[in-house]
Structures are given as C-alpha cells and as structure tokens.
Symmetry: C2
Subunit: 276 residues, 2 copies
C-alpha cells in the first residue's frame, strides 16, 4: 500500500529526482498494534537529513497524519517513508521552487526466526568497502549502491548480516544495521563521520545505555577490536537488537549487557505502543 503526496497511488513521475539522482532520504519504521514505533525520532532524523541536503522538510503534522492513515491500525508491519527533492531543475542543479515528494509505503513485517533475537546470528565481513564521503556520512539518503553491492556478496541464508569496513579498514556497520561491541562492560560503536548511517535505533540504544549506567564510547573500531569483543550485536528499527553469535571463525556468547539492552528496548517500545 502506498500514499504518494497524500494520494493512494503507487506510480511516480519518472522525472522525480529521487529516481534520477537518488536525491532524497528515507526512513524505515516498525509498526506494532497500529503504532509506528519511535515515529518522532524518525521524523527528527529525517529533518536533520533534509537540513544537511538542503531539502525543504515536509510538514511533520502532515507526515504524522499520513503515517497513521496508511498504518490504519495494522497489527504488525513495516512503514517506509521516502522524501525526495521532487521534480525539476536542470541536471544536478536544484529546482528554483522545490516541491519535495513524500511517499509512504506499508509492507508485511519480515518473518525472522525468534532465535535471531534469542540465540544470535551468523555474520560475515563484506569485501565491498564503504567509501569515505563526509558530506553524506550519517545521512539515511537514497544513494545506497554500496549496500546493494555488499549485500550481493552472499545469496544463502547462512549469514543474516554482513559487516562493512571503510576504505581505511575501520569497521563501520552492517549492510542494513549499526554495530555495537561490548568489552569489559563498556558499550562501543563506530564513529560515523566519514561514512555509515546514523540509525534511529542506534541513538535510542545509546540513550538507554547511558540512562542505565552503561558506559558508552563512540570510537574508531578495528577488525581486531571486533574479534576481541566480549559481546557483539547489530541493531536497526526493524530487527531491534540481534546478538552476533558467530563472525567468520570467531564465536561470541550472548552476554549480559546485550540481554539487558534487549530487555530495556522492549520495555521502551511497550511504553511507546501503550502511550499511543
């Protein structure tokens, strides 16, 4: 189901700059019991992205109304929002009058086995390196070819995620998730100033950790740091927190900090769902 600039339609003008240049942003939002979870945080990130990309952000009240209209009480779903710079302009040059496009779509929630959450996943390192592009780092924009290329490196169900390094060999994130390490009870996650996506859930996990006296460090992370970690997990808005049980030849226990963060996150989601 689609809602394009408020209309129930699923075709788009080919001149849209989202299609022509990947000139836009997106959000992927979990829906539970009719509630788009962490909607405010998603809209805040969208606004930050619009600001950096000089796209006039759509009105948040309107976005919220459209989100709930499309969700329409759905029990469990994925809500995706794409915002583009709209049509027009000559070549790369921006249109003089910008009319951003907003597209909501609603999708079935993926059927992930429960044991990904409880017993962890298998992960590999990808060969495709993340390019270094400070101008776009952190933004959840529509230029996602590196992720597509990395995800094309395996085609079996043996691995649930692939970790990506940047050109300098720093470990940055998963193809669709952020990465966290725990070492000596300190929660660590890569700095994303040269590449990577600042996940909404990443921000929520960091806030939850700090509020619960877990020390957090955003730092440069090497492969060696990852191999030496006590616990590892990946996160995004749809999967929540998935512990990593196996990375290449290295095994990890599902540790106490990961389980505590999983419990804290579930509780926070429940609060949010009941408040709506």
């Amino acid at each position: 189901m689609y809602l394009l600039n408020g209309d129930s339609k699923q075709t788009l003008d080919c001149s849209d700059r989202g299609f022509q240049y990947g000139d836009g942003l997106f959000e992927t939002i979990e829906v539970r019991n009719g509630t788009p979870v962490f909607l405010d945080q998603h809209f805040q990130r969208l606004q930050r992205g619009c600001q950096r990309m000089l796209i006039t952000p759509p009105d948040i009240t309107l976005l919220k109304a459209e989100a709930f209209q499309l969700v329409n009480g759905a029990d469990s779903a994925v809500l995706k929002l794409i915002v583009t710079r709209g049509s027009g302009g000559r070549g790369y040059r921006q249109p003089e009058t910008m009319r951003p496009t907003r597209l909501f779509s609603l999708h079935p929630f993926p059927e992930y086995p429960d044991n990904y959450f409880s017993h962890g996943i298998n992960v590999r390192f990808c060969h495709t390196a993340l390019g270094l592009s400070p101008a776009l780092a952190g933004i959840k924009h529509l230029n996602r070819l590196e992720q597509v290329m990395a995800r094309s490196e395996w085609n079996t169900d043996d691995f649930q995620e692939g970790l990506m390094l940047d050109l300098n060999g720093k470990v940055i994130e998963g193809t669709m998730s952020n990465l966290f390490l725990i070492k000596d009870r300190v929660l660590m996650t890569p700095i994303l100033d040269h590449c990577g996506v600042e996940g909404v859930l990443k921000g929520i996990i960091i806030a939850l950790a700090r509020a619960n006296s877990i020390q957090v460090m955003e730092k440069n992370i090497s492969k060696e740091d990852v191999y030496a970690a006590d616990e590892l997990f990946v996160s995004n808005s749809i999967i929540g927190i998935w512990p990593i049980k196996q990375l290449e030849l290295q095994s990890y226990a599902i540790g106490a900090v990961t389980q505590r963060l999983q419990a804290l996150l579930l509780a926070l989601k429940q609060e949010e769902i009941h408040a709506c």
Copy 2:
C-alpha cells in the same frame, strides 16, 4: 517524452530499485539530425557499468530500436537512458529474478551561448568533496548526491561549471563533466580509480588525441597542476568541449591543442551523423 520498457508512459512503479536505492545507471546522449551521437559508445559504457553492478544488461538491439523510436528524427535534443535493477528483492538484497527497467526520455537541447564553446567558461572549485569509493568509481550510476550537493553551492550564472576535488585534495572532474589539462602540449586528465565518472566523451577525446599524435597522460592531478596548466577544458556528451577561460583568480588562453581537439571532435560527430 518517455519510453518506459517500450511503452509511452512517464510514471514508474514506486517499488523500482532505481527510486528506492539509486540502484541503476544512466546515459546522456546528444541527438543531432535524428542521430543519437556516439550511441554505440554509450551502450558499451552502459554494458560495462551493468557488468560491474551485476545488473543484467538490456538487449542492445532493442535499446537501439527504442532510442531511434523516441528520437523520431528530432533535429536537436538530449536523449537520456536510465537502466535500473527493476523491482523486487528484500531490502538491499537483489531480486532472484531480475527484470531491469529501461527508461528513455527525450529533452530539449539546452540553449548554451556559443561563446562557451568559442571563448570559454568561468569555473570555480566546489567545497563538496568527492568521496572515495573504488567499488563505484568510474561508473555512471544513479547515486549522484555529491554532484547535487556540489551544484547547489552556486546559484548564479557567473560560473558554468564547478570542479570537484576528492577527499585527498586531488582534482577529479566537474560536477557534470570530465576535466582535461594541457601542459607543454601534453594532454592530461585525472585518473578515476577512486571516484569520478568515466565520460564517453572523455574516452573519445583521448582516442582522438592519440590518433592525432597528441601525447595523453592519465595521472593524479593537484590544484597546483591545474593552476600551472597552459590550457584547460571540460567535456561531456552534451556540451562537447568547453575551454576554461577563468578558474578562481587564474585566467587561461584558449590554446591551440584545445581548438584542435574541438575541430577533430566536430569532424568526428559530422561523420557519425552522416553515416546514420
């Protein structure tokens, strides 16, 4: 005018991966006297790009037929072709059965003043740096946010192009063009192994130069090299060769090598147009 998978329509399914992830490629082709100029070279580059991006390339005979159908004898126009991985797949993962999308569109030829060609253009350096991404370097793909951001740095007609440096400060290309320098009668152009687009016209200019005993070097180029050049020009399939007369505070003469290449290129185009 649009031709989408052979049909006269200009709306596209929103699930297309070109729109969702910038998961595709494009070509921009000059049309003169009903002829899409250097069409074979454009299709060859498209095929190389498809190969690197693991997209099944569309049938070239079909593409050629559709190109001529849309051009329909137009005297002067711009023909654009977008090829995407099509719809489907879960997230970044490729669809099991790929049905690439092909979209031709025909646009009026931009009305550039003749003196850009004859007397040169004004150019600036952009602040937006090109990220380093060897996996995507050289490919004319749909992830073009860096170009959009660079082109948004000026909004007047004082500059006809902006030159982009990479993260390491090497000069790479213009926002919409390749860059050439002439120093001591040697033609030089940046190596594009970490970023940049391998322009069809860049390839043709290099071949023309070599066939006419002009020495060519593809090398790393610094700002200092650019300032010290005897002649400078930018090229793409639509503008052809535009000499640079002014870059920031530095002026350049329209030199003999640039003029010779302009003449050779015009002659080659005429041949191509008459052969069709």
